[in-house]
Amino acid sequence: MRHRFYQSLLIALLLASSGVTAQDLLLIANVPDGSQFSEDYARSLLRGDKKNWDGGIGAQVALPSRKSQNYNEIAQTLLGFSGKRMQRLWFRLVFSGRVNPPTYLDSDADIVRFVMETEGAVALITQSKSDMSDLITIKIAP
């Protein structure tokens, strides 16, 4: 029993020291050729503050849908408020013509697939997936 306790404690310490926590998010982007990438700029695309990559190529933002488990977590990390308010913000921005309509997807797997297939796509996910080698990935602290 005591052995199992020490084993669990050791695993927890290893995870903490490696920086991997449940709240960490991954920013993934399929950056168009010729475009500069920076974390700040990618965040501004995800917040709807900006619309395009370099050269005027439109960013395609993928956001968690209301069915997604990460709906509120991603909104909180990105904007500091709830998923519902995030969707209201994006609805208003699309209506004003300031941004491209975002794509709402139900799971990390769907988002990764969308970003892989769509040049200019950018998104936040909660867990790394295999075969994301073609994408830029950055760990985002909450």
Binding site: F81, K84, L89, F91, G97
Partner: protein, 357 residues
């Protein structure tokens, strides 16, 4: 009819230029096109202490909103509104129809019919009541604000790498409606704004137009022509119109404020007319907002185009958001109207439920 007052700029060449842009656009349609559609509508209930022409119950303006991408750099936006014949002459109206070409990351070109970028309200949420902070548009929208323009607009959001944005628009003018550059360039809009993020925007603009044959061609909509034009020589001729506007929008965790200030004058003479709209909202929680509003328009007696007098509206309201697509607003207001021969002191209560899908 064109008097010497009107700028003698007949840039008819702009029409082939616009056609050329559309041809370039057609050649660039190489990406997968996309289309998004939204529908907005609302219903209102109204009661007041005095008799007014406003209905007790009303199905308000509805709008079909389409956005989409035509290629990597080209996108379009269209907004068509519908209102039953009782409330306006045209049942169906094209409110916006424009294509946008993104020159690079921070600058773009727009061609077509747009909301004139003179203030925050008009640039952000003109027809979708779901997004309005209060039930009604500011009073100045019924009179002074050139809501739509048809023309060419160059805009950006990062001048010299800062958060300063700009808009420069060459328009066909209020008198020509949707007929693009029918008399060349008649209106000019210049706007500067500062917006570090979507929660804060400060903007200032200058707008200038030539109102052609102003006695017969009211600004927008009917009933705006001054019946008390002081200067007979100014009747039935072209006059200049100038509008200077300032807006500030701020959304915080607890409060949202929107300030719309503007001054204007026609015929380049006399004192400026004034318009003030102030909204302050307190977010009780994510779905409930309590707010106060103050709205004032004052037209000086020397004005030659708009009816002189003072009109104001102030009160308190509550907004409840049901999910993402529905809001209910309730306002209790005082409205005073002393335009022309009117002398109205009115207490009003109004409710509005608005939808967007």
């Amino acid at each position: 009819m064109h008097s010497a007052i009107a700028p003698d700029i007949k840039l008819k060449a702009l029409r082939p230029t616009c056609l050329g842009l559309l041809i370039v656009m057609a050649m660039d349609l190489n990406a997968e096109p996309s289309l998004e559609a939204n529908i907005f509508t609302h219903f209102e209930a109204y009661q007041s202490s005095e008799d007014t022409p406003i209905d007790d119950l009303k199905w308000g303006e509805s709008a079909l909103f389409l956005t989409g991408r035509l290629s990597d750099r080209w996108s379009f936006l269209s907004e068509v509104s519908l209102a039953i014949p009782k409330y306006r002459d045209k049942t169906i109206k094209v409110e916006r129809l424009r294509v946008r070409y993104d020159l690079n990351r921070n600058n773009w070109l727009i061609l077509g019919k747009v909301h004139t970028p003179v203030n925050y309200w008009n640039d952000n949420f003109h027809h979708g009541r779901l997004f309005f902070p209060s039930i009604n548009r500011p009073l100045s929208f019924q009179r002074f604000i050139p809501i739509h323009e048809t023309g060419l607009r160059l805009a950006g959001n990062s001048l010299f790498g800062t958060n300063v944005g700009y808009d420069v628009m060459l328009g066909s003018g209020q008198s020509n409606g949707d007929d693009i550059f029918a008399d060349g360039v008649q209106s000019y809009t210049g706007t500067l704004n500062w917006s570090p993020n979507n929660d804060l925007k400060i903007m200032a603009s200058y707008y200038r137009d030539t109102i052609i044959d102003h006695e017969k061609n009211p600004f927008h909509g009917s009933g705006h022509v001054s019946p008390i034009g002081k200067d007979d020589a100014s009747r039935s001729k072209d006059i200049d119109y100038e509008l200077i506007s300032y807006s500030m929008y701020w959304r915080g965790e607890t409060f949202t404020t929107l300030t719309e200030l503007s001054v204007n004058r026609s015929n380049g003479q006399g004192d400026f007319n004034e318009a003030v709209y102030q909204y302050v909202g307190y977010h009780y929680n994510e779905d409930i907002t309590l707010y106060g509003l103050f709205d004032l328009v004052n037209v000086n007696a020397a004005e030659v185009h708009f009816i002189a007098g003072r009109e104001s509206r102030y009160g308190i309201g509550i907004e409840y958001a049901f999910g993402l697509n529905t809001t209910l607003k309730l306002e209790v207001r005082r409205r005073d109207d002393h335009r022309g021969m009117m002398d109205l002191y009115n207490n009003e209560i109004q409710a509005q439920i608005s939808f967007g899908f």
